[in-house]
């Protein structure tokens, strides 16, 4: 069985790589037909058309798009050198996702710098929303139709309908600016100053978690209501198991599959950057990087961020599929 599982995983990894290749081509083509001249970004204020044209040629931007794509792919594996014949060539080491002439940095380095912040943001709110969402989901399912159920669902609906940037701005305005309950957010890594880190992150965590928790309450509730009606729950009760065991080990476990699916994909989506939340709370993560590069038409960064975000989602899909087999023995290949 373990060999068939590894064959399955291997096949999935291969198709994943193919998908990424296709995706990178689409992203590359898409952003190349968009308005905005990448060559224009390579020279500063004192720019003449002659310099732009010279830069365009030196950077290979005058090559056909497909040839540029080939260079890009090659760069991923062996690195690349921009303007190799000029007095000051720019070196981009493998895996080279491109080079931002706007920011004078390798795209991979920019992403590496932004990733920890985004990762902490995503993980923290993920833990909050999963605990709250599953906890309240089970609670409301067990009190279906009673006032506890109705009030939690009502609040969840509000949380679900308000855009996160709206809640974020309100939270920022009242809690930070008006009431001074928390200092103005300034991101520091947790290894540097843990309490400052927590003070900065707690609001974005909660604001982000509100939206997702609302969804997971409803998802968990409906899953629980469904599984609680199953015959095997009746069997578990007729064995004389205490209610708590019946609910946790039998009902929740059985309803977990769609929750795990959504959780994996939502977490992966957030790892690609939470644009609004990062912007509101001035967090230097992937989302801020993406937002900045779109404003600046910084093409290499846009392509890089999009690809990295896509990798997260595709990998999460694979992980979720493998988790299915862990959760449900019936989908294990035999």
């Amino acid at each position: 069985m373990s060999t068939s599982v590894s064959v399955y995983v291997l096949r999935r990894v291969l198709s994943m790589l193919l998908m990424l290749l296709l995706l990178s081509l689409i992203v590359f083509l898409l952003f190349n037909v968009l308005p905005g001249d990448p060559a224009r970004l390579t020279c500063g204020k004192a720019c003449t058309p002659e310099i732009i044209e010279a830069n365009r040629h030196r950077l290979g931007l005058d090559m056909p798009v497909i040839a540029q794509y080939w260079e890009f792919l090659k760069g991923l594996f062996v690195g690349r050198t921009y303007a190799a014949n000029s007095p000051d060539p720019v070196q981009c080491s493998a895996p080279c996702l491109g080079y931002s002439f706007k920011r004078h940095a390798e795209v991979s380095q920019l992403i590496k710098d932004g990733l920890p912040c985004t990762m902490w943001l995503a993980l923290g709110s993920f833990i909050i929303w999963m605990v709250v969402g599953i906890g309240l989901g089970v609670y409301t399912a067990l009190r279906r139709g009673r006032w506890q159920d109705k009030s939690v669902l009502g609040v969840a609906l509000i949380g679900y309908s308000l855009p996160s940037f709206f809640i974020g701005i309100l939270a920022m305005f009242f809690i930070v600016i008006k009431w001074h309950l928390l200092p103005y957010p300034r991101y520091v890594p947790p290894t540097e100053d843990l309490s400052k880190f927590l003070q900065t992150m707690i609001l974005p965590w909660i604001v982000l978690a509100i939206l997702y928790a609302a969804f997971y309450i409803r998802l968990t509730r409906s899953q629980m209501l469904e599984t609680l009606n199953e015959d095997y729950i009746r069997t578990a009760r007729s064995k004389g198991l205490p209610d708590r065991t019946v609910i946790r080990k039998h009902a929740l476990r059985a309803g977990l599959t769609p929750i795990v699916t959504s959780a994996g994909l939502d977490l992966a989506g957030l790892l690609g950057g939470a644009v609004f939340i990062e912007a509101i709370f001035s967090l230097p993560g992937i989302g801020s990087l993406a937002l900045g590069s779109v404003t600046d038409s910084d093409l290499p960064v846009i392509v890089g961020v999009t690809l990295v975000a896509a990798v997260f989602v595709i990998v999460a899909n694979l992980v979720v599929d493998v988790l299915y087999a862990v959760i449900d023995p019936r989908v294990r290949p035999s």
Partner: protein, 358 residues
């Protein structure tokens, strides 16, 4: 064999007395069980027979305490060795479930948790009631699986339910139900979902385990073949009420309630003449939302014209002892019922001397 006057006497191992169960639904109050009384002795089997919706399964779930307390109203008494289960604390009833009383269900695949191995589900059933180590519990389970006829149980115990056949799954369910040697086993249509050959094996198994453990069995079924095979006593249910109750021979040989007759008439039989047609009961069972005021069976009863006046539609008949020994809920006079029964059974047997007279 139980005699007619014993049917109402108390002091048996399990006594259900005037049990009522109703649910509140969006459409109104559903009176699923409307005052039923029966009992069962250790080592004996009571079959509860009826169409779907007659309240059979609800009765068993009420005995087990497996109903939603917020939506369900239960009244009457369920005396289990002198304790009224309906008055016991929910947690005390829980402790009886699985240890003193157990239940098996119709569909063994959906009744087993799909994500856990047989071992896990059985060991859990042992350890919730016995203070034993996992290894000891596992040994008990393997022994029990062996007893219910599962080949190489030490290997099979690590299978998942979907890896077993239907018959094997039901054996696992039986093993799970009997693992703590309960005194009462409720089997809710245990063979309905199984192949005929497997059905017979499962019934044989239940019978031999009953002898070994001296278990009282309540067999809920609509299959009269199963009833004839395993029951000592039979309670026929219709519209949430027991309409006829007696030992298995009286019920099969001298049924008196027109509904019981109708049930027997609608069973295909190999020993019957081919030309004689099946005789289904016309109409459909009443909705538990709106039960008829008088006799629940009256709207479908072909003999109600033989009762003087409008009594069948207005008055609810009592469950009373009949001359032939069983309890019958019917307005027809005793001798008339006996005659109807004799004629009808004669017709069914294809016996022209009995049938010709009518």
């Amino acid at each position: 064999m139980t005699q007619g006057n014993d049917l109402t006497s108390s002091g048996r191992f399990l006594e259900v007395d005037d049990l009522h169960v109703s649910f509140s639904t969006e459409d109104g109050i559903v009176q699923a069980v409307d005052g039923i009384t029966f009992g069962v002795e250790r080592g004996k089997t009571l079959a509860i027979v009826g169409e779907s919706g007659s309240g059979k399964s609800v009765t068993s779930l009420a005995i087990m305490g497996l109903f939603d307390k917020r939506r369900t109203t239960v009244s009457g008494r369920v005396m289990f060795e002198g304790d009224d289960l309906l008055k016991l604390d929910a947690d005390d009833v829980r402790k009886l479930r699985g240890s003193r009383m157990a239940m098996i269900y119709q569909d063994p695949l959906s009744s087993l948790h799909p994500f856990y191995t047989i071992a896990k589900q059985l060991v859990e059933a042992v350890r919730v009631h016995q203070k034993v180590s996992k290894a000891e519990a596992r040994d008990q389970c393997i022994a029990m699986l062996h007893k219910v006829g599962i080949p190489s149980p030490e290997k099979r115990i690590d299978s998942y339910p979907h890896e077993l056949s239907g018959g094997m799954r039901q054996r696992v369910m039986i093993a799970m139900a009997l693992i703590n040697s309960p005194d009462l086993l409720i089997a809710d249509e245990p063979t309905t979902a199984l192949d005929v050959t497997v059905q017979a094996q499962i019934l044989d198994l239940l019978r031999s385990l009953q002898q070994e453990f001296n278990t009282a069995i309540i067999m809920i079924t609509h299959d009269l073949g199963v009833v004839a095979d395993v029951a000592d006593d039979v309670a026929v249910m219709y519209g949430g009420r027991v309409v006829e109750y007696g030992d298995v021979n009286s019920i099969f040989r001298r049924p008196e309630m027109p509904y019981t007759l109708g049930l027997l008439a609608s069973v295909p039989r190999m020993d019957r003449v081919r030309t004689s047609r099946l005789d289904p009961i016309p109409g459909a069972p009443p909705s538990a939302l709106k039960l008829p005021k008088g006799c629940v069976f009256a709207p479908r009863c072909s003999y109600k014209s033989q009762v003087p006046g409008d009594v069948c539609a207005t008055d609810r008949p009592e469950l009373l002892p009949a001359p032939s020994g069983q309890l019958v809920r019917c307005h027809l006079p005793g001798p008339t019922r006996v005659e109807i029964s004799r004629v009808k059974l004669g017709e069914l047997a294809g016996d022209s001397t009995a049938g010709g007279a009518a």
